[in-house]
Amino acid sequence: MSDKPLNRGPHDIGGEAAGPIDTTDHGMKFWERQANALRSTLGANGITCVDELRRAAEDLGDEYRGLQYFEITTRALRTVLLEKSIFSEEELKAKMAEIRARFNVPDEMESPIKAKAR
C-alpha cells in the first residue's frame, strides 16, 4: 500500500498505512484564521481560484510532507500571486522585513514576545 507509483503527487495519500488519529479538534491559531480568510477573500474577489492554489501546493513535492496545513496553503498562495505578477519577490521580501521589524519592540519595554524568542 505504501508503494507509490511515480505519477502520484505528495498529496495523494489515500490508501497509505498511517498511525492512529488524534480525534480532538485543536481549532486554529489566529494567524491560521487570517491566512484562511485571506485565501477565501481572494477567491471571492476573483483573484485566485481553488485549482490554481491546489496545483501550487501539489508542486511543493518533497517539501509538502514536512509542512503544516496552513504553511502549505500560504506557500501556495505566494507562488500563485508571484506567478500572476501581483507583487514581486522583492516587494514581498521588503514587506516581510518591515513586518518583522514591527515585532522588534525596544528591550526596555520587556516584550514578552522577545523574551520568549530568546
Binding site: G14, I21, T24, N36, T74, F87
Partner: protein, 226 residues
C-alpha cells in the same frame, strides 16, 4: 459510542461543566492561542495581505468579515439544513436530488459546484473525507477540524473505515455497509444521519442541537443527552 474516551464533546463537557443551553458550543472548535514569536509563515501571510490591500485588490474589512463568517456563521448552517431534512420529507428529497439548490432555499450559497447529501439508513453508514487535501463543505460546516486535514485520517479512512470510526468511538453493527465518499474541489458531501428515537415532536432548533459537525461528517452518530 459508549466509550467516553473517544467523545471529544463528552470530555469537553466534563471538563468545562458544559451547559447544554449555551449557544453553539457543540459546533465550533475552541481555537488555540498563538504562542511565541511570529513564524516566517505568519509574517509571509500578513505581508501578502498588506501588499494586496496597498494594491487595492482586497480590503482589511473584507478579510475581517470572512474571518467572522468562518467563526460565527458557517459552522451553524449544516445542522439547520439537516434538521429541516429530518422534519420535512419534501425538503429532504430536494436536498438529496440537488444539495446546492436545496441550500439556496435557506439562503445558503455554497462555495463548490455540487453538494451531494448522503443518507444513513439502518443498513448503510456514510463517512466523508478528502484524501487529496481538505475539500469540505465549509459554507455548511465551517473550517474542517484538525483531524479531517490530518495525514492519518486522509490515508486510512478509505481502506479501514471501521477501524477509523472506532477511534472516534463509533461502532457499527457488522451488517451495516460503510461507504466512504472522497470529496474534491468541485464536489462536496454532507451526511444526513439517522434521526434518533426519542426525538419525535422536537423542533428544528432542538434537532439542530444534536446534529454536530462530526455527525454530519459521519465519524459519529447523533445522540440524545450527550
Amino acid at each position: 459510542m459508549s466509550n467516553p474516551n473517544f467523545d471529544y464533546y463528552a470530555r469537553a463537557k466534563q471538563e468545562h461543566g458544559h451547559d447544554h443551553n449555551h449557544d453553539h458550543d457543540d459546533h465550533a472548535p475552541v481555537n488555540e492561542h498563538d504562542n511565541g514569536p511570529p513564524s516566517d509563515y505568519e509574517i509571509m501571510s500578513r505581508a501578502m495581505q498588506e501588499l494586496l490591500e496597498e494594491k487595492g485588490l482586497i480590503t482589511a474589512e473584507q478579510v475581517r468579515r470572512r474571518m467572522e463568517l468562518f467563526d460565527e456563521e458557517f459552522p451553524y448552517r449544516g445542522s439547520r439544513v439537516i434538521a429541516r431534512a429530518w422534519t420535512d420529507p419534501a425538503f429532504k428529497a430536494r436536498l438529496l436530488a440537488d444539495g446546492r439548490a436545496a441550500c439556496a432555499e435557506m439562503d445558503i450559497v455554497l462555495e463548490s459546484e455540487r453538494l451531494i447529501a448522503v443518507e444513513n439508513t439502518p443498513d448503510v453508514h456514510n463517512v466523508i473525507v478528502c484524501t487529496l487535501c481538505s475539500c469540505y463543505p465549509r459554507a455548511l460546516l465551517g473550517m474542517p477540524p484538525t483531524w479531517y486535514k490530518s495525514r492519518n485520517y486522509r490515508s486510512r479512512v478509505v481502506f479501514e473505515p471501521r477501524t477509523v470510526l472506532h477511534e472516534f468511538g463509533t461502532v457499527l453493527p457488522d451488517h451495516v455497509t460503510v461507504r466512504v465518499h472522497d470529496s474534491n474541489a468541485d464536489m462536496r458531501y454532507v451526511v444526513i444521519p439517522m434521526r434518533p428515537e426519542g426525538t419525535e415532536g422536537w423542533s428544528e432548533e432542538q434537532l439542530a442541537e444534536i446534529l454536530t459537525r462530526d455527525a454530519l461528517v459521519g465519524v459519529t452518530v447523533p445522540r440524545i443527552g450527550r
